[in-house]
Point group: C2
Amino acid sequence: MKFKLILSLLLLSSYFVALSQEKQPEKSSKHNITATEKGLIKISILYPYAEGKNFNMEYYAAKHMPMVAGFLGSNLVKYTIEKGLSSGIPDQPLPFMAIGSFYVKSLSEYQAAIAPNRDAIRADFTNYTNVTPVIFVSEVVQ
Amino acid sequence: MKFKLILSLLLLSSYFVALSQEKQPEKSSKHNITATEKGLIKISILYPYAEGKNFNMEYYAAKHMPMVAGFLGSNLVKYTIEKGLSSGIPDQPLPFMAIGSFYVKSLSEYQAAIAPNRDAIRADFTNYTNVTPVIFVSEVVQ
């Protein structure tokens, strides 16, 4: 009787081991992306490059983006920061110095969260750039 | 003796169950992003909006992007497609109709893979758009 019980528990444990292992994401590379942003709304803030324009990436990453992210609450899934390197077309100028992007579940919730804080966000611009950003709203379709 | 062996196996199984469960990513939301693109190179192809310009998203997603992705091999970590919805600034025109992005590990490997296929890629443009894209190379810093 005791033997049968232990055997049953053992089989049950093995089953859960198999189940757990199946759920684990594949780890084929350091940068393996296991989740998808598909269906999310993305708000990108693009800072065009031009002669005489500047952008302080340190301040942007340490202060500005966390401040705005803080206004968005649980609607925010993640945010990313890109540093402009070059144009992909030889002899063309760098299109953007930087791009910051917020991935959110709802655009209307994003707008409602930003509206009362717009002045604070704009006032902070001068702390890291002298360029007027382009703002682009998109849907991640793939 | 047999009993001790089974007990040992049972304990071992339980240990692996615990271990496996620990490795599982948290699933707090449908869109939970468990991995990071930090450190990757991103090549974005931006299709500016303008009067009289068009963009066939269906062809782009089903044919063009998979073709280019196929040239990139294991250097490609993932690619994304965004559909332009609006400007984030009221009364401003839509900045882009669409953006396609390739996340790669190495820019030089990307360039070496694209160079011999550039003509095929450009020839395919006319199948889905009549606008000249902006190409932007960036580093994902966060």
